[in-house]
């Protein structure tokens, strides 16, 4: 494996545990002071929906506006969320930051779930509730997930001609067998060696497994990553760091439907829910490799197309309206999808042969630089 010099050693901009604790303590002290003054304790949480998420054309990524919602204890429409947010803060403060331990958001969910006193009410019913509160706290205190010592269950796999060091372990990503290396939730690793020419991100694990068996990454000298559906923070952070620190182009391959295109959108521009941390998670240099609507004709898989459902059409229309999708090329693709009212999955290529993806489709597209912006 040829060794490529690692260009720059970008430092993670994480906040130290002490500083994070200080921020949480300040918040709690302010709340207690409010309570003593007989005022409702509250916290300001920046809004992370389309109304407060803007597109930065220069940086080519989403960022969060300055609108914030007040979450007040005494407003009974907020009380439950308020409680859950302070519970998350206390959990991170006492159980994680004080001890220097990390745990998963799932573990935290179980740690916080209980029935309150002699009522019939649970503190938390579904993990989604504490997940959101963790992000709320993160945004409210201007922190990142890693600062709270919280991790998500890892999703996403990577293989390729590179060596990384993770918590002191040296990992050769070219020797990951058939399964690939599970991308950790907190990508706090060091790139030791890398000879790849580009990064190929593929939405589906099935396609990743096919390409891995065909040793595509070895033959074409690339990093091969699957996000296994919508990309988790770990995969997004890894792609962001490899693209920036190793200066590699990124090609993304998803299904040809609203969900697939949105996966690309999140990888490239960032997501609305995590718009506060786009510069760490988004990779604007990403290019869309496929599956495009044009590919379906060019590669003769029209028969494999599926009728688009109402939700697909709705999603497609939403994407078409995003300010960051207003390029000629994308509008043409989306118009075509809306006109045909059809969609196609990556697996449609299997019709042309099991290895058609690795032997024909991908090499042709990459060689011709047939990408969408």
């Amino acid at each position: 494996m040829a060794t490529k010099k690692v260009k720059k050693d970008v430092k993670a901009t994480a906040t130290s545990s002490d500083e994070t604790m200080k921020k949480i303590l300040e918040l709690a002290n302010r709340m207690y002071a409010d309570i003593e003054k007989r005022n409702s304790p509250d916290m300001d949480i920046p809004i992370r929906s389309l109304s407060n998420v803007k597109y930065d054309e220069d940086k080519q990524m989403l960022f969060i506006g300055d609108k914030a919602a007040k979450r007040k204890f005494l407003n009974t429409a907020h009380t439950r969320k308020f409680m859950q947010t302070v519970m998350v803060a206390e959990f991170c403060y006492n159980h994680l930051l004080k001890t220097g331990l990390h745990t998963s958001i799932r573990d935290m969910y179980y740690g916080l779930k209980k029935t309150i006193g002699d009522s019939k009410v649970n503190t938390v019913d579904e993990q989604g509730e504490t997940n959101i509160c963790a992000v709320d706290l993160e945004v409210a205190l201007n922190l990142i997930r890693e600062d709270l010592n919280l991790i998500a269950n890892p999703t996403g796999k990577v293989v390729g001609p590179a060596v990384v060091e993770d918590v002191g372990d040296r990992i050769d990503l070219s020797k990951m067998g058939s399964g690939g290396w599970g991308i950790p939730s907190v990508v706090d690793l060091k790139f030791k060696e890398c000879s790849a020419d580009y990064i190929l991100v593929i939405e589906k694990y099935a396609a990743f497994a096919r390409l891995n068996e065909d040793k595509f990454w070895d033959k074409h000298n690339c990093m091969l990553i699957t996000t296994e559906g919508q990309a988790a923070r770990g995969a997004r952070r890894l792609i962001n760091r490899m693209a920036n620190e190793l200066d590699l182009p990124v090609y993304v391959c998803t299904d040809s439907d609203g969900y697939g295109w949105y996966i690309y959108s999140v990888l490239k521009y960032g997501s609305m829910a995590l718009a506060h941390t786009s510069d760490r998670l988004a990779t604007p240099q990403s290019r869309f490799l496929g599956l495009t609507m044009s590919d379906i004709k060019d590669f003769d898989i029209e028969e494999q197309m599926i009728k688009a459902e109402a939700v697909d059409i709705k999603r497609t229309k939403e994407i078409k309206a995003y300010p960051w999708f207003q390029t000629k090329e994308w509008q043409k693709q989306l118009d075509l999808a809306l006109k045909l009212e059809k969609k196609a999955e990556i697996e449609a290529l299997t019709k042309r042969g099991i290895q058609f993806l690795s032997k024909e489709y991908l090499p042709t597209k990459i060689e011709n630089k047939d990408f969408l912006p």
């Binding site: 949480i24 303590l25 709690a28 002290n29 709340m31 207690y32 309570i35 003593e36 007989r38 005022n39 409702s40 809004i47 992370r48 929906s49 389309l50 998420v53 919602a69 979450r71 204890f73 005494l74 407003n75 009974t76 429409a77 907020h78 009380t79 439950r80 969320k81 308020f82 409680m83 302070v86 519970m87 803060a89 206390e90 403060y93 006492n94 998963s104 958001i105 799932r106 309150i116 006193g117 009522s119 019939k120 009410v121 503190t123 959101i132 992000v135 709320d136 998500a152 269950n153 999703t155 559906g229 919508q230 988790a232 923070r233 949105y262 999140v266 997501s271 609305m272 829910a273 995590l274």
Partner: protein
């Protein structure tokens, strides 16, 4: 005693009365197995109440229904009334139209003398057996007999007559009814008696139902209702045939004096006004009045203004008394009552509308059986109830023919949603009091949809509806406030643990401060409504696990 009933029955001479009864028993309320039973109970109970009231005795009535066959029930009704003197017994129970109320212009419950005899007949026709009567006027002599009816001659046949000494006052009737059915619910004797107790607060009713369960509705007030006065007709309430009938019975020598003496509110001045509008001589004998002349008079009456009729002949339930009965029997959480001032319909018939609205307690009809059971936030089943309508005419509960009744029409005309009481545990009680109740049909179970009657009922319902509406709305606000406070109380525990845990203070201390905060917020003024938190984050990330 000779009655106009004899005239009525003259036409039926060729047929036996039994045939008449069999053919026409629906006219007397004997249609269907369920209704027949309730009608029989109604007749005896009404008679008992009327007898007690006439004698100024606070009624204490005992009713028992006992199953004696697959479609047969024995009915026992016993009162503490004045008893029936031996010589009148046959007349009361065995002769059609022998009552004392027929053709008298006076507010009454009764059914023109057919009632009690009708039950005896029904029993006789369905079982072939007589009805047993035990009665005493309280003179230490008890009279015991069996009554049946000689249909051909419309006469009572008394048999097994016995007389013995003993202390008793009142009347006990025992009769067996066949082809009847006891079914709990809106149209049952149970409901009839409950409503009777409600509209007759001076009455004690003890009832043993066919399942041998004893129900007691105690007297709510000791005061006896005032007895209704007899009254002369008011000119606005007279139709042409009434006019002809009154004129033919008049003792006056001239129509002019007939008008002044046989009607209320007709003065000499008014006679002059009338005279100016007609073209015949009012100094002739009333008996000589022609139909066409009667028409002129009725027309003149309609055009002339008269002082409203005296209303002392109308005895409504009385608001205070009804209130006590309502509280006693329905035990509502909230109630409101209204007695309208007397009004007139058909131009001259006085009537009074009384309305009661009750909320909570035993008010409303439970509908849990028919609909999906709703649960509240705590997961407890909530009893679903809908509006219960109680119709009364002169204190008599009307259980049947609700669809064609002015009371039902008025209630349906009200937009209850405006008072936030469309559903829920609400009982609407309407009592229509009049000398002449405009029943539809002979079943006497519904009041004709006279515009004035509907208007009066609606006005009363709107007033009381507003009062109940503001209570319900306030109750809802209070309930919501309590729910919010409870929610804050529950959530303050984990909040105190979390904040205390971060700042290093005991959670009990933080909790007590939070409770003080909630207390300060919830004492006195109402807090602003909690607004939904705007959607903070788009769910665009898929699952993060």
């Amino acid at each position: 005693m000779p009655t106009a009933g004899e005239d009525v029955f003259k036409d039926f001479k060729e047929h036996s009365v039994a045939e008449f009864f069999k053919k026409n028993r629906q006219m007397l309320g004997y249609t269907g197995a369920i209704k027949s039973l309730t009608t029989a109970v109604h007749e005896f109970v009404t008679n008992a109440l009327d007898a007690c009231e006439a004698a100024k005795i606070a009624p204490d009535i005992f009713i028992q229904l006992e199953r004696v066959g697959p479609d047969a029930l024995k009915l026992v009704v016993e009162d503490n009334g004045p008893g029936i003197p031996k010589k009148f017994l046959g007349g009361v129970f065995g002769q059609m139209l022998a009552g004392t109320k027929f053709n008298v212009f006076k507010q009454s419950r009764g059914q023109q003398g057919i009632g009690a005899t009708g039950v005896v007949m029904f029993s006789q026709v369905t079982t072939g057996k007589p009805t047993k009567i035990v009665t005493s006027t309280g003179d230490n002599k008890i009279y015991d007999a069996e009554v049946s009816i000689d249909f051909k001659n419309n006469k009572a046949i008394l048999s097994n007559e016995k007389e013995y000494s003993g202390t008793m006052r009142g009347t006990r009737i025992e009769t067996v009814l066949k082809g009847v059915k006891y079914q709990k619910g809106d149209k049952s004797p149970d409901e009839y008696l409950r409503r009777t107790a409600l509209a007759n607060p001076h009455t004690k009713i003890t009832y043993i139902d066919p399942d041998n369960i004893t129900h007691v509705w105690d007297r709510s007030v000791d005061a006896m209702p005032k007895m209704p006065e007899k009254t002369l007709p008011h000119p606005k309430g007279v139709e042409v045939d009434d006019m002809m009938s009154f004129a033919s019975h008049s003792a006056s020598r001239t129509i002019s004096s007939f008008l002044k003496t046989d009607f209320v509110r007709i003065s000499s001045q008014k006679v002059k006004e009338i005279e100016a509008k007609i073209n015949f001589d009012i100094n002739k004998r009333p008996q000589d009045m022609k139909w066409e002349e009667a028409e002129q008079l009725v027309k003149a009456f309609k055009e002339i203004a008269f002082i409203a009729p005296p209303t002392d002949c109308l005895i409504p339930i009385n608001e205070q008394h009804l209130e006590k009965a309502l509280v006693n029997i329905i035990k509502p959480e909230f109630y409101t009552l209204l007695t309208r001032s007397p009004a007139i319909y058909r131009g001259g018939v006085p009537f009074i509308v009384e309305v009661g609205l009750a909320f909570g307690g035993k008010a409303g009809r439970s509908v849990t059986e028919d609909v999906e059971v709703k649960k509240n936030e705590e997961g407890e089943e909530m009893v679903q109830s809908e509006m219960e309508i109680m119709r009364f005419a002169n204190r008599v509960p009307l259980l049947f023919d609700a669809g064609s009744c002015a009371i039902t029409k008025a209630i349906l005309d009200i937009d209850w949603k405006r008072y936030s009481i469309k559903e829920g545990p609400v009982t609407v009680l309407v009592n229509f009091t009049s000398v002449h109740v405009p029943y539809t049909g002979t079943g006497k179970e519904s009041i004709a949809e006279e515009d004035e009657v509907i208007k009066e009922i609606k006005l009363a319902l709107q007033d009381t509806g507003r009062r109940l509406g503001s209570y319900v709305a306030g109750r809802k606000r209070k309930y919501e406030r309590e729910m919010k406070r409870r929610l804050l109380d529950v959530y303050s525990l984990p909040v105190s643990e979390a904040i205390g845990g971060i700042i290093g203070k005991k959670h009990e201390l933080v909790l007590s401060k939070i409770r003080e905060l909630i207390e300060s917020k919830y004492e006195g003024v109402e807090e602003e409504g909690g607004e939904e938190e705007s959607e903070l984050a788009e769910d665009d990330e898929g699952s993060e696990e």
